[in-house]
Symmetry: C2
């Protein structure tokens, strides 16, 4: 979808996606090598009672579900940033994460032919507990002609 095809308030469902213990450890080993994401014995002695996913992993997994819808694809010029992100509950192995992507702003570019798509992403686990919310901005093309 092009910039001018979106409307503020539009909502898209994403997911479900889950992360296995092995995937959580593999991601953490590469990008966020902390004991709470990698070390069973250490994590079992925390209030979580076991390994939790890196918040960056949760973010990427949820983002993959949004991009995977194909709603934006060739139209994307590039990412601009994240206005805010909150990890609101821990994500454990095999949690089923689903979410909502809502269009919260559409900012036309002074350059023309493009604009900034601002979406709020909210993700929940299988108990309807929110695990993440974030507002992400990307530059996308307007429809040609």
């Amino acid at each position: 979808m092009y910039f001018d095809e979106f409307t503020i308030g539009q909502r898209f469902e994403i997911g479900p996606v889950s992360l296995t213990l092995e995937e959580i450890k593999r991601f953490a080993a590469q990008y966020d090598p902390l004991p709470i994401h990698l070390d069973n014995a250490f994590a079992s002695n925390t209030p979580y009672g076991g390994i939790i996913a890196s918040g960056f992993h949760t973010l990427c997994a949820i983002w993959s579900q949004w991009v995977g819808t194909g709603i934006v694809h060739n139209e994307v010029i590039g990412g601009l940033g994240i206005d805010y992100l909150n990890w609101t509950a821990p994500v454990r192995p095999n949690d089923q994460l689903s979410g909502i992507v809502e269009v919260v702003d559409l900012i036309p570019s002074s350059k023309g032919g493009r604009g900034i798509l601002v979406v709020r992403v909210t993700a929940y686990n299988q108990n309807s507990q929110e695990v993440l919310n974030a507002q992400v901005k990307g530059l996308i093309k307007a429809s040609p002609g």
Copy 2:
């Protein structure tokens, strides 16, 4: 390092790290499957002139360099969120990324024995061009006793 061992204004150097074209594509295929990150022909017809890394990949790669220092390790209770993040320039295959992590705030927890470490992460490429800045919050333990 424990919460009480940090001081506002402390700065830590991180990196360098680089992402090969293959790594950029592998990450994007899993987490951000957009043509600008995956499709050579498509990307060569954009103003970038070729494939650029997913901003989420850049974020994770830079974050790995911070956690990899070991400055925070067992002390980390969990991530809380990102106050803001800006992708300020594209990251291309084999760019050498380095950065600075600066302690910008230290918020004691009302619970005691812990506090919020707020860091600003700034990353640059081999031409000293800023590619990313972000402010990230995590809960860490205070020193015991």
